[in-house]
C-alpha cells in the first residue's frame, strides 16, 4: 500500500514538473513572439508584426487579441481589428482598454453608433474618465448635437478647469448654441492656459 502511494506521489511530481516545463516553454515562446512583434512594429513591418503574433495565437489570450487589434488597425485591416478587439472585450467585459481599442476601427469605418456606444460604456464603467467624455463630446459636436456635447465638455471642465482643449471645445460649443457671453469667457480662459492657442484666438475673432 505504502509503495503504491510513493509511486503515485512520484508520478504526480513528474507530471507536474513536465507541465511546468511545458508552460515555461510556452510562456517563453509567447514572450518571444511579443518581443519580435514589437521589434517588427518598430521597424515599420506591420505584416510581420501581425504574423509573429498569429504564430502564437491563442483565442483565449486577452493580451494577444488586444495587440492584434492594434496591429491590424495600424495596418488598415479595420474589420480584422474590430474582430480582435471584440474578442478581447468578450474576455474582459469590464475592461475599458479594449473599448478604447474598438473605437479606432469603428471610427475609421465611420460606424459612429458603435463609437458612441463604447464611449458611453466606458463612462458608465469609469464615470470620471475625461478622455472618453472629451472624445464623445467631439463626436456629438461633429454631429451638431451641441446640447449633448455641452454636457460632456462641462463635466470635463469640472474635473480639469484649466485644460486648454476642454476649455476651447466648451467655448466652441457655447458659441454654436449662441451663448456668446459664456463662449467669450471660456475662450479667454483657454488663452490663459495657452496664450497663442489658435482655436481660442479664432473663436474670439468671430465673437468680435
Amino acid at each position: 500500500m505504502g509503495k503504491i502511494k510513493i509511486i503515485l506521489a512520484g508520478f504526480l511530481v513528474i507530471t507536474s514538473g513536465i507541465q511546468l516545463l511545458a508552460q515555461s516553454a510556452a510562456y517563453e515562446k509567447t514572450i518571444e513572439g511579443f518581443q519580435n512583434s514589437y521589434l517588427s512594429e518598430a521597424t515599420g513591418d506591420l505584416s510581420q508584426a501581425i504574423q509573429q503574433l498569429k504564430d502564437i495565437y491563442d483565442e483565449d489570450s486577452y493580451e494577444i487579441n488586444l495587440r492584434l487589434g492594434w496591429l491590424t488597425y495600424s495596418a488598415g485591416q479595420f474589420t480584422d481589428s474590430y474582430s480582435y478587439y471584440n474578442r478581447a472585450l468578450s474576455l474582459r467585459p469590464f475592461a475599458i482598454e479594449p473599448r478604447f481599442g474598438l473605437i479606432y476601427p469603428a471610427a475609421a469605418m465611420g460606424n459612429w453608433d458603435v463609437v458612441i456606444k463604447q464611449y458611453n460604456q466606458i463612462i458608465e464603467t469609469a464615470p470620471g474618465n475625461t478622455i472618453a467624455m472629451h472624445r464623445l463630446g467631439l463626436v456629438y459636436y461633429g454631429r451638431k448635437e451641441y446640447d449633448k456635447a455641452e454636457k460632456l465638455f462641462e463635466k470635463v471642465i469640472n474635473l480639469y478647469p484649466f485644460d486648454y482643449d476642454a476649455l476651447s471645445m466648451l467655448a466652441w460649443t457655447k458659441y454654436q448654441l449662441k451663448k456668446y457671453r459664456e463662449a467669450k469667457v471660456l475662450f479667454n480662459k483657454a488663452l490663459m492656459n495657452t496664450p497663442g492657442g489658435q482655436s481660442a484666438i479664432d473663436g474670439l475673432e468671430l465673437l468680435e
Binding site: G76, F78, D80, M109, G110, N111, W112, R143
Partner: protein, 467 residues
C-alpha cells in the same frame, strides 16, 4: 527541312493553344475576379480611389461585391449609395443609405441624400417622414416648411367634342332611338372641370389626399319614361352640374408597403325642363321644372408595395353609377428599369363585375402607360386605351366620372414640367377620345343599342406646389 516544318507547325499549335488560353482567360476573367475573396484594404482602397476618381460604376460593382462578401461599414455603404445616386438610380441607392444609417444613425448627409432619393423616386411620403431627422440648418437650406401640407394643386380641364345637332346626327347615322322603350341616351358637347387638391400629413406618418372638383357640361339628352311611352323627352342642349369631393389616405404598413383607403362622393344635378322641343335656340326660353339629383359614393381600397424596380398594387372599388352595381378589381404594376423616374411603364388590369337587376356581366380592361424624362425639366407620358370602357374608375388618374357614355378608345399625352428652385410643377395634358353614345334601355343596361361614335378632345392644365 522536316525539322523546320515541325517547328513551324509546333509554333502554330502553340500559338493556337496560346490564343485559346488567352481567350479562355479573357472570358473567365470576370468570373475569376468575381470569385476572388476581397480583403478589407482592397475593398476600402479600391472603392475610395474609384469614388475619388468618379468611377461610379466601379464603386457600385466592387462595393456590391464586398457587401455580398460580408463587408459592412458606414463608408462603404455611403460610397455605393452616392455612386448610385449620381447615376440617378435613386431607388437602388435607398437601401445603401439605410445601411449607412444603421452605423451612423444621426448622420445628416445620409439623411439628406436619402430624403432626395425618396423624393426623386416618387416616394413623397417616405421623403416627408425623414424631415424630422434633418438638422435645422438642412431644413432651412432645403426650404422645408414646418407645416404638414405637402401639395396644393389646381387643375382645369376643357373638353369639346365634334358633336353637332345631336338628335339629327344620331338619327342619321345610328337610326332612330326607341320611343316606346324606357331608356336614356346622352352625348356630350363640351365640359369644363375645375379641381383643387390638398395633400397633408397627419401624425407624421399618414398622408391625406383631399380634393374637390366642379364640372359643368353641355349635353344632349334623350329619355323615354315608363309612364309616358311614345313621348320621348328630348333636350337638345342642357347643362349638367357635378360636384365631387374625395379623400384618400395613405397608411404605411411596413417597408414600402402601404394601405390606401378612400372614397369619392359625387353629386350630379340634371335639369328637367317643362318645355322641350328640338333645334338650336329652340329651348332657350324654357324653364327648369325639376332637377334630378344623383348621389354616388365610391369607396376604394388599395394595397401598394414599392420596391427597387417595381411598384405593385391591388385595388378594389365599388360604385353604383347609372344604377349598375359595379365591383371593380384592379392589378397595377409599374416598372422602373433604371430604378428611377427616367423611364417607367405601367399596366393596369381591371375586372369589372357589373350587376344590373340581378344580371351579372364581367368586363376586363387593360390600360398601359409609359413615361420618360426627356429633359431635366420635362417628362412625357403616353397612355393609350384601346378597349371600350364604361363606368371605369381609373385608379391612377383618380377621376370618378359618372357618365352614361362609353369611351371607345382614348389616347392621352401628358407633359410634366417640374421647377426645382421654386417648389412648383406644371402639367399639361391632351387627351383624344372616341366616344360611343348609346341608347340604354332601362330593362337591360348591359346591352345598349344604336351606337353613335363621335370624337372629343380634352386639354388639362394644372399647377401644383410641392413641399
Amino acid at each position: 527541312m522536316k525539322v523546320i516544318t515541325q517547328h513551324i507547325s509546333a509554333c502554330k499549335i502553340f500559338s493556337t493553344k496560346m490564343w485559346l488560353f488567352v481567350i479562355y482567360i479573357f472570358l473567365l476573367s470576370p468570373e475569376i475576379l468575381f470569385s476572388q475573396e476581397l480583403n478589407f484594404i482592397q475593398v476600402d482602397t479600391s472603392t475610395y480611389n474609384m469614388y475619388m476618381r468618379g468611377d461610379w460604376s466601379g464603386v457600385v460593382e466592387t462595393g456590391k461585391k464586398a457587401v455580398n462578401q460580408g463587408f459592412d461599414y458606414y463608408y462603404l455603404h455611403m460610397r455605393i449609395a452616392y455612386a448610385l445616386f449620381v447615376e440617378e438610380k435613386y431607388r437602388q441607392a435607398i437601401p445603401y443609405y439605410k445601411n449607412a444609417l444603421k452605423h451612423n444613425s444621426k448622420d445628416p448627409t445620409a439623411f439628406e441624400y436619402l430624403y432626395y432619393a425618396y423624393k426623386y423616386s416618387g416616394m413623397q411620403l417616405d421623403a416627408t417622414r425623414l424631415i424630422d431627422d434633418l438638422t435645422p440648418e438642412q431644413k432651412n437650406r432645403l426650404k422645408i416648411p414646418k407645416h404638414g401640407i405637402l401639395t396644393v394643386g389646381i387643375n382645369h380641364t376643357y373638353g369639346r367634342s365634334n358633336l353637332k345637332n345631336a338628335y339629327e346626327s344620331i338619327m342619321e347615322k345610328a337610326g332612330k332611338d326607341p320611343v316606346n322603350t324606357a331608356g336614356v341616351r346622352k352625348a356630350t358637347y363640351f365640359l369644363n372641370n375645375s379641381s383643387l387638391q390638398l395633400k397633408h400629413l397627419l401624425f407624421k406618418n399618414i398622408l391625406f389626399d383631399h380634393g374637390i372638383s366642379y364640372m359643368k357640361k353641355l349635353e344632349y339628352s334623350y329619355f323615354v319614361d315608363n309612364d309616358y311611352p311614345g313621348y320621348p323627352y328630348i333636350s337638345a342642349e342642357q347643362y349638367l352640374d357635378q360636384i365631387e369631393h374625395w379623400t384618400q389616405v395613405k397608411i404605411p404598413l411596413g417597408k414600402g408597403f402601404y394601405f390606401n383607403p378612400g372614397f369619392h362622393r359625387i353629386i350630379t344635378d340634371i335639369p328637367i325642363f317643362n318645355y322641350n322641343s328640338y333645334g338650336r335656340n329652340a329651348g332657350s326660353d324654357r324653364t327648369v321644372s325639376d332637377e334630378i339629383r344623383l348621389k354616388n359614393l365610391l369607396p376604394l381600397i388599395t394595397f401598394e408595395k414599392k420596391s427597387t424596380y417595381m411598384d405593385a398594387a391591388v385595388s378594389y372599388v365599388h360604385h353604383n353609377f347609372n344604377t349598375i352595381n359595379t365591383n371593380q378589381f384592379g392589378l397595377h404594376l409599374t416598372l422602373y428599369p433604371f430604378s428611377n423616374l427616367n423611364l417607367y411603364a405601367s399596366s393596369d388590369l381591371y375586372l369589372q363585375n357589373k350587376d344590373y337587376r340581378g344580371e351579372k356581366r364581367n368586363t376586363w380592361m387593360f390600360v398601359p402607360e409609359i413615361g420618360a424624362k426627356v429633359h431635366k425639366n420635362l417628362w412625357l407620358e403616353f397612355k393609350p386605351i384601346l378597349m371600350e370602357q364604361f363606368g371605369l374608375y381609373d385608379v391612377r388618374s383618380n377621376i370618378a366620372y359618372n357618365n352614361l357614355e362609353k369611351v371607345d378608345r382614348a389616347y392621352t399625352f401628358k407633359v410634366h414640367i417640374p421647377f426645382y428652385k421654386i417648389p412648383l410643377s406644371i402639367h399639361l395634358q391632351y387627351s383624344f377620345q372616341s366616344v360611343n353614345s348609346y341608347f340604354f334601355p332601362e330593362s337591360n343596361m348591359h346591352d345598349p343599342v344604336n351606337k353613335y361614335t363621335y370624337r372629343s378632345n380634352f386639354i388639362t392644365g394644372g399647377i401644383k406646389w410641392v413641399k
